[in-house]
């Protein structure tokens, strides 16, 4: 893992790009056909790879495009992961960008 900003774009920007691609190209169809599954969006190519688990979607997407930068989404859900614990650091800004 590098620490250079050129190699390491702001995660918020990657996530926003992935969410936008998903909304515009895939959301309507995927929520009918694959609810509850996971989709890795390659923000460089806009390609989507679906899997039954987070790891399955991400590993398959990396196999297809090893140099891709991916944003992972759970179809039909507001997020992939959740926590019911209170953490004091959830809203702090990223140290990148």
């Amino acid at each position: 893992m590098g620490t250079n900003n050129r190699q390491f774009p702001n995660p918020s920007e990657i996530a926003a790009a992935g969410e936008q691609i998903y909304r515009e190209r895939y959301q309507a169809a995927f929520e009918k056909e694959h609810p509850g599954k996971y989709v890795a969006i390659n923000v460089r190519t806009a390609a989507a790879t679906i899997g039954d688990t987070p790891d399955a979607a991400m590993n398959a997407a990396r196999t297809k495009a090893g140099d891709g930068m991916f944003h992972l989404i759970r179809i039909g859900f507001p997020s992939v992961y959740s926590s019911s614990s209170q953490t004091p650091y959830g809203h702090k800004d990223w140290i990148f960008g």
Partner: protein, 151 residues
């Protein structure tokens, strides 16, 4: 029955010692991690602690916090070893945290059941039913249906 593998901290939270690495075991380091059954993922750890471990960087994902807000997070991939047993999974990288959280996906990956005992601490046992038929979880409704018109 399993054996004691961890302890309850002063707040009563279960903690265990784990080893984490990414691309090769030569990068492994040992950490203490809290088992958080409220966390749906595999492992959450501080970003700065992840640098020396050579984790594979997957990209980003979204994470719903306890207050309901959704936050983007970096996502890596690596191996966690607990008491000689290994599991691989996606690792949420927290930019400003100091603690490590093991979640339900980790317990599922090792097929373990968690037993907490004030006397014996933290015990993990082999899950007697590791692969039950998962209930269908419908996605949350985004738009509630309109109420019926008043008669």
């Amino acid at each position: 029955m399993g054996t004691k593998i961890g302890y309850l901290d002063k707040n009563g939270h279960p903690n265990v010692k784990i080893k984490i690495w990414g691309m090769a075991e030569q990068f492994a380091q040992e950490f203490e991690a809290m088992i958080d059954t409220g966390f749906t993922g595999f492992l959450s750890m501080p970003l700065t602690a992840a640098f020396p471990l050579a984790l594979t960087l997957f990209g980003t994902t979204s994470y719903t916090l306890a207050d309901g807000s959704v936050s983007p997070k970096l996502l890596g991939y690596g191996t966690v070893e607990l008491e000689g047993e290994k599991a691989q999974g996606s690792i949420v990288l927290e930019p400003n945290s100091s603690g490590l959280l093991l979640g339900m996906e980790f317990l599922r990956g090792l097929n373990k059941a968690l037993v907490l005992s004030p006397k014996n601490g933290v015990v993990l046992t082999d899950d007697p039913d590791p692969d039950p038929v998962a209930p269908e979880v419908p996605p949350p409704a985004i738009d509630p249906p309109n109420p019926p018109p008043a008669a």
